[in-house]
């Protein structure tokens, strides 16, 4: 069957549907390159057309999984990955005398503000990184840096929706949902799209992670630190084996119902879901306890730190690795709550960015190194980005406002050309002047690495074949290995 089975006219037989609907039980014939079983997904029979069935990648993928490190609020590019010596020279001067200043959300334009951090060159590639990220800096040879990102929106929520769903409006499917729709999950015991809530849900709320018009099966499962990592994952029964006995009784009764009514695929799949749910109950706690992690690994991520936020983010990073090891397709990490309102430093840039960076820097570097040493970086795409950048001039005296006209992001891992710098901003880091990369381009590229053609992964809704990239998106070829 190969990977041609996504063609529109393919007719899915009843039994094949059942295979799918049971979340993969007995549907080996349907597996593509990576066992393309949508996580427990019943393909609703009344989806608009058969074109709403996508099963498996369009071509040979580089990456199996994505870890999306979301830098909520917008990291300042000129303070992290895009050094601008001119800011130091013109520190304190009026930006409006230097260039045209766009309307911003707070419209409190201050003076040109030099970066409080020094930049140094790292690695064989010599990529400059600021002192905010001394640990990530040690991984630059694995990193493809894009300095020419732009967003369509200067407001957090629109920009968050845009980055996550390809649309600035609420209610559209998130990229994690699209990836799972396109590829399915590799693991039937864990959802294919997981959001690790590090403490801060980005503005726009859980809708950043929802399925939109795709079936609800594709929405993210939110994991939290604590005794119940996933909603309703812990059995309520406090007596050993009680739940198993109940489930057996339920199964027995349900089976006799099937015997009575005969033909009823939907009911049969609902029965199978209990088996999956039961397995999830045991596989998820196992996941979140790091029993078999060595002290060295824990230390690598920074689990021994004095900073509780760093420790928190470190365990999220370890968990992310454990999730992708188990075949979870798309894992997103939200930011820890360091008490500085994400990366959104409208004032007090120095303190806020330092606290945030301190919490995430070592765990992220640990994650990259750990993935690499386990050979997992070859099949995992790690994406680090905010929703937009920040202004090179101050908001008030010591903050920076939102800047959708230029920001930096990086990718590492599967299919990515490490040690690359792509795109260029002007001398202030305010606007992109070379190789502009849009969010749609980023989506197209992430999908490409997963073996999905962003133009072909469509879902019929409201009379249109909807895409994550709408009618846009070009591959960022220069960062591909």
């Amino acid at each position: 069957m190969g990977h041609h089975h996504h063609t529109k006219s393919r007719i899915i037989s009843r039994r094949e549907m059942l295979g799918l609907s049971a979340g993969g039980f007995g549907s080996l014939a349907f597996m593509g390159l990576f066992g393309t079983l949508p996580f427990g997904c019943k393909r609703a029979s009344h989806l608009e057309t058969a074109s709403n069935l996508y099963l498996g990648p369009h071509y040979l993928p580089k990456a199996k999984n994505v870890i999306f490190l979301y830098m909520d609020g917008g990291v300042s590019q000129v303070d992290s990955f895009d050094p601008k010596p001119r800011l130091a020279k013109e520190n304190g001067e009026d930006p409006r005398k230097k260039f045209k200043v766009d309307a911003t959300q707070f419209d409190n334009v201050g003076k040109i503000l030099k970066s409080p951090w020094d930049f140094r060159q790292y690695g064989e590639c010599g990529m400059p990184v600021s002192d905010l990220f001394p640990h990530i800096a040690t991984c630059v040879d694995d990193i493809a840096l894009i300095r020419s990102m732009v967003s369509n929106f200067p407001e957090h929520t629109n920009a968050n929706y845009f980055l996550h769903t390809g649309s600035g409006l609420q209610g559209r499917p998130s990229m994690g949902a699209w990836m799972n729709y396109g590829l399915g999950s590799e693991n039937n015991n864990i959802p294919g799209y997981v959001v690790l809530d590090g403490g801060l849900i980005p503005p726009g709320g859980l809708d950043n992670f929802k399925n939109g018009f795709l079936p609800a099966s594709y929405q993210a499962s939110v994991f939290k630190a604590g005794p119940e990592p996933v909603a309703n994952i812990n059995p309520r029964e406090d007596i050993k084996n009680l739940q198993e006995e109940k489930l057996q009784f339920i199964k027995q009764m349900d089976d006799s119902l099937i015997g009575k009514i005969g033909e009823a695929d939907a009911v049969e799949s609902a029965i199978s879901n209990y088996e999956l749910a039961y397995k999830m109950q045991s596989s998820i706690p196992e996941l979140t306890e790091f029993k078999e992690e060595t002290e060295a690994t824990k230390k690598l991520y920074g689990l021994d730190s004095d900073d509780p936020h760093l420790r928190g983010y470190a365990s999220q990073c370890i968990l992310a690795r454990r999730l992708i090891e188990r075949g979870v397709r798309f894992v997103e990490l939200t930011c820890p709550n360091v008490g500085a309102d994400r990366w959104d430093q409208h004032s007090n840039l120095k303190v806020g960015h330092e606290r945030n960076a301190h919490a995430v820097d070592q765990p992220i570097a640990g994650l990259l190194k750990d993935l690499k040493s386990r050979g997992l970086l070859e099949e995992t795409l790690v994406v680090w980005t905010g929703e937009f950048g920040r202004t090179p001039f101050a908001q008030g005296s010591d903050g920076r406002d939102h800047n959708p006209s230029a920001f930096s992001m990086w990718m590492a891992g599967a299919g990515v050309k490490g040690g690359t710098i792509f795109g260029k901003t002007d001398e202030y880091g305010y606007r992109v002047i070379e190789n502009e990369v849009t969010v749609h381009d980023l989506h197209a590229t992430i999908m490409h690495l997963l073996g999905l053609d962003h133009k072909q992964l469509t879902f019929r809704f409201g009379g249109r074949d909807m895409r994550l990239t709408d009618v846009h998106g070009n591959l960022i070829k220069d960062v591909l290995a």
Binding site: S45, D107, N108, L206, D207, R236, E245, S256, G262, A270
Partner: protein, 991 residues
């Protein structure tokens, strides 16, 4: 335009003969039809394979060939010949090209990844051979039927005809237990009360079933169920989502309105009118109990969209909002995806970008506003009485002063101050110092229909005449505590400042940029100014950043806090004029009454600001009498009446603005508008008579009328199909929100048309339509189907049996509450706060969580917070409220099982059920199990089931801790048993 317009009825006759093979069909799994029908056989092939390059959108058209019109298909091709020559396949280029083996010539071209099957090619071939008969898209042809409207078996006749044609054998009727559970759930969303089950079983009369149906149709729970269906269409939510999830004021009043409307069986045409133009109807529909006007509440559906927190590009925000309104309106009422024509002509449907922008103008001319929830006919009458009394007071003064004589001496000196127009640095937007409101809209009652000019001012205690009022717009004109808003026409901002001279208390002046309502910091905070000054004051708005934007000024007593409108009792606002200017506040304005009209009558006389001053001078000097005894009592009555108009309860709705025609935005980008503006009108393709909207306002009333025009082919079809969908789980047209070319074809076109015609004839009664359908045999069939049907009709399109259906999210939760006897059937009112779990985080999170069990209320009464949607609801497929969802997904995921297995609500309800069970003091084990079965499944357990229950029970008993005392232990065991019952598939499926 369409030469061969053939009635659907005729073609359906041919559909029945689909199974009959003709000469060339051997090689196809499904034989070719005898007569190839354009709509049902040919067009689906063309739409899927050809229209991207040869369809309605000229921008992507290749070779100048269009296959979406007959003229286009038979026209001479550029390179010679014709794509289609009717009756002559050998001369038809289309036929040559689809069979061509040369990859450079074959159609569709290989790079499109599209490929016609042999059967598809043969169909096109045969169709051309048979004369290439063209027809209008099926859903654009008016429904007609030859069926007898009174025939109670019409549905079964039409269903059976197709079953016979397909050689499918019907299954027998469902048993009474299944039937009552089915009818109860589908009509009311709740399981039947076991007593009702027993009664129904016992009632062997022939009318038993009809009685049952009527009982459920008349149950208040019916409205709760069907209102919720409707809420899926209008993206119902109680907050606006986005960054801070602001509240939508009074959203729940709209929900209650729906429940009442469905329960009272308000005809669908009325419901439609109220949604589209409830504020513009000549006579509003009254609430039967309270007398309050219902109709306006319908318009709340417009404001159910998302609301952006401080968008930098407010114009884009408006475009997005309007797009959502067009999307929801056209999908809901017409089953058309007009929104697809935002950037270019629709790729498939004959809907042009111009059509889209014609409707865009309608939406753009509509203004959002708080609306008092207690408007009524009585209040309208009261306002008129007050106006009469007030003008009577004027007459009394005029009479006493014998004005005709006096006025002769006062020649009109209005133009005394000459204005050098060239030097003018300002433009007057509104001047209320004259008699009228200068063309502004006085929405609501507070501002009345004129200014205060010349109104007598009385000493409140003595009733002594103190003078005549100068001209101003006043929210106190009718009385205090009354809602009203004075709104300017649309202006294009061209100067740096907008200024309003006003005074008042606890009130506001707002500049509404591009209809943007969520005014606040950062960015827009300055566009909402509070008015709290006893003396006249100049309120200045710096609008310089928005030059070129459309805006209007809103003067309103009370104001917004956290985007919720409040009207304090002492709030009032008065305004003299509004201007827009550069630089400093124009100094000569104060004395310049140049723009003030002298016209208007006061007690039958011309009155002008100048005359008022003269009279007041004369009065002060004692030249005119100040004692007019009758005045005080008239004033008292007027003030007494005004108290009846006080209001403090609001919902978000709309008022009509000023008609704006929109240009077409090239590629959907408002920054690239066309030169020409598109007049507001209905979709051109449906070519309904008089589709141009001529109203000075939005044209929404005309929009409603066009939708209800007898020739509109969609309105009734779309609605009966929705009803069918809710009853059978699938519409006759499966794509319930899309009747366009990309939608599915009807499985039973003749049936759909019969129902559509009947719906109209029966006065658009939703209840009658439901009754007609559920009393059919088709509806009453069993779900039990054998392997034969499974292979011949795997998706049960032809309804030889009733489809097995999973219950919706609400029905599952409400069902649990009902069977545990914890359902609180209290209807209506403010929603029960969302229960927040630890997983529900983010901005705008309410400080307090709602109760776990939602106070036992039905799910429809639980709050719908966009950013904090109830996990149980979304997991069981309640749609995310952003667009129209006429058909819910039915997913099957482990998180559903996890909810039923481990969610605290389900566990809590199992415990309650066990308590209730033990309270009944039933004797035997068997009686207890039977009670549970009747509650949960509306039937008795079989002996086999009893046996299994007994084994299970014994096992549970052994497992429970030994140290538990008897009663506690029994309770614990029954709890586990009840919990298991909720987890049986029979509980969440209609079997």
């Amino acid at each position: 335009m369409f030469i061969h317009r053939i009635k659907v009825l005729v073609l359906v006759g041919t559909l029945g003969g689909l199974g009959i093979s003709c000469d060339r069909t051997e090689k196809f799994s499904e034989p070719l039809p005898k007569v190839v029908d354009f709509n049902f056989h040919v067009k689906p092939i063309l739409v899927q394979n050809c229209y991207l390059c040869h369809g309605p959108d000229p921008s992507s058209r290749k070779a100048d060939l269009r296959l979406d019109t007959y003229e286009g298909a038979v026209a001479a091709l550029k390179e010679g010949g014709h794509a289609i020559v009717p009756g002559k396949t050998s001369k038809s280029e289309l036929v040559k090209r689809i069979y061509d083996e040369d990859p450079g010539k074959i159609m569709p071209p290989p790079e499109t990844n599209l490929k016609l099957t042999e059967r598809e090619k043969a169909l096109l071939d045969k169709w051309i051979d048979q004369g290439a008969q063209w027809k209008e898209h099926w859903s654009f042809i008016r429904p007609e039927t030859k069926m007898d409207m009174e025939d109670p078996n019409a549905i079964d006749l039409l269903i059976d005809r197709q079953l016979e044609g397909k050689g499918l054998e019907k299954v027998p009727m469902a048993n009474k237990n299944s039937l009552i559970r089915r009818v109860s759930y589908l009509l009311t969303g709740l399981p039947p009360d076991p007593k009702e089950v027993q009664e129904f079983i016992a009632d062997t009369s022939s009318a038993a079933y009809e009685k049952l149906v009527d009982r459920y149709l008349n149950s208040p729970a019916y409205g709760e169920r069907w209102a919720r269906h409707w809420m899926d269409l209008v993206r119902y939510a109680e907050t606006k989502g986005h960054e801070f999830d602001y509240a939508i004021t009074g959203a729940w009043k709209y929900r209650d309105y729906l429940i009442r409307a469905f329960n009272e069986d308000v005809p669908y045409d009325q419901l439609l009118k109220e949604h589209i133009a409830g504020d513009l109807l000549e006579t509003a529909r009254k609430n039967k109990e309270t007398g309050v006007s219902e109709s306006r509440l319908g318009t709340t559906f417009y404001v159910m969209g998302e609301g952006t927190h401080s968008p930098v590009d407010v114009r884009q925000d408006e475009a997005d909002r309007i797009d959502n309104m067009i999307d929801v309106t056209t999908k809901t009422f017409q089953g058309l995806t007009v929104s697809c024509a935002k950037c270019h002509d629709h790729k498939f449907d004959p809907i042009t970008a111009a059509d889209y922008y014609a409707l865009y103008g309608v939406m753009e001319s509509t203004r959002f506003s708080p609306v008092p929830s207690d408007n009524s006919k009585d209040k309208e009458i009261t306002v008129k009485e007050i106006e009469k009394l007030n003008s009577y007071m004027g007459k009394l003064v005029a009479k006493k002063w014998n004005l005709p004589k006096n006025s002769d001496s006062n020649t009109d000196l209005v133009q005394e101050i000459a204005v050098d127009l060239k030097k003018k640095t300002y433009t007057v937007i509104g001047d209320f110092r004259g008699r009228d409101l200068d063309g502004w809209k006085s929405d609501g009652h507070a501002f009345g229909k004129r200014t205060t000019l010349g109104d007598p001012i009385l000493d409140q205690i003595s009733g002594k005449l103190l003078g005549l009022q100068e001209g101003k717009a006043s929210s106190r004109l009718i009385g205090m505590g009354i809602f009203g808003a004075l709104r300017s026409p649309n202006i294009i901002l061209e100067k740096d400042f907008v200024g309003v001279r006003a005074k008042g208390k606890n009130s506001s002046i707002r500049i509404i940029l591009d209809n943007f309502q969520l005014i606040q910091n950062p960015i827009y905070g300055g566009m909402d100014q509070k008015v709290n000054t006893g003396n006249w004051n100049n309120f200045v708005f710096n609008v310089a950043p928005w030059k070129g934007r459309k805006a209007y000024i809103e003067i309103i007593p009370g104001g917004y806090e956290g985007h919720i409108y409040n009207l304090p009792e002492d709030a009032f606002i008065e305004a003299e004029y509004a201007v827009t200017y550069d630089g400093k506040w124009p100094s000569n304005l104060e004395n310049n009454l140049g723009s003030v009209q002298a016209k208007g009558t006061w007690a039958g006389l011309d009155i002008s600001p100048y005359k008022v001053r003269m009279f007041n001078d004369d009065l002060k000097k004692g030249k005119l009498p100040a004692r007019i005894p009758e005045l005080k009592s008239v004033m008292d009555s007027s003030q007494q009446l005004a108290k009846k108009l006080k209001t403090d309860s609001f919902f978000n709705g709309v008022y009509d603005g000023y008609g704006v025609d929109s240009p077409v935005f090239n590629r959907g980008n408002y920054k690239e508008p066309s030169e020409e503006r598109i007049p507001r009108r209905y979709l051109s393709v449906l070519s309904l008579r008089d589709s141009l909207f001529r109203s000075d306002g939005s044209g929404r009333l005309e929009l409603a009328r066009t939708m209800l025009n007898n020739d509109n082919p969609l309105t009734s079809r779309v609605m009966v199909n929705r009803i069918w969908h809710h009853l059978f789980g699938r519409g006759i047209v499966e794509t319930v929100d899309n009747f366009g070319l990309q939608g599915k074809l009807p499985s039973h076109p003749e049936l759909l048309d019969y129902l559509a015609v009947k719906f109209r004839i029966d006065g658009w009664s939703i209840k009658s339509m439901i009754r007609t359908i559920v009393t059919s045999e088709t509806f009453k069939r069993s779900t039990l189907r054998g392997e034969a049907l499974a292979s011949t009709d795997p998706n049960n399109i032809y309804l030889a049996s009733f489809p097995v259906r999973r219950l919706e999210a609400e029905a599952i939760r409400d069902g649990i509450l009902m069977v545990t006897e914890s359902l609180d059937t209290l209807m209506y009112g403010a929603p029960v706060a969302t229960h927040l779990t630890d997983f529900m985080q983010g901005r705008g999170r309410p400080r307090k969580s709602g109760p776990l069990d939602g106070e036992g209320r039905r799910s429809i009464y639980l709050e719908v917070r966009r950013n904090f949607l109830e996990p149980m609801m979304t997991t069981f497929d309640r749609p995310i409220p952003f667009s129209t969802f006429g058909s819910r997904n039915v997913t099957n995921v482990p998180s559903q099982s996890l909810i039923l297995m481990n969610d605290p609500l389900v566990a809590q309800q199992a415990e309650i059920m066990a308590e209730k069970l033990l309270e009944k003091k039933l004797g035997s084990f068997e009686e207890k199990v039977q009670w549970i079965y009747m509650q949960a499944f509306s039937r008795l357990a079989t002996s086999e089931e009893l046996k299994k229950a007994s084994h299970f029970f014994d096992m549970l008993s052994r497992m429970e801790r030994k140290d538990d005392t008897g009663a506690d232990k029994e309770m614990a065991v029954w709890k586990e048993y009840c919990h298991s019952i909720f987890n049986l598939k029979e509980f969440i499926y209609l079997i």
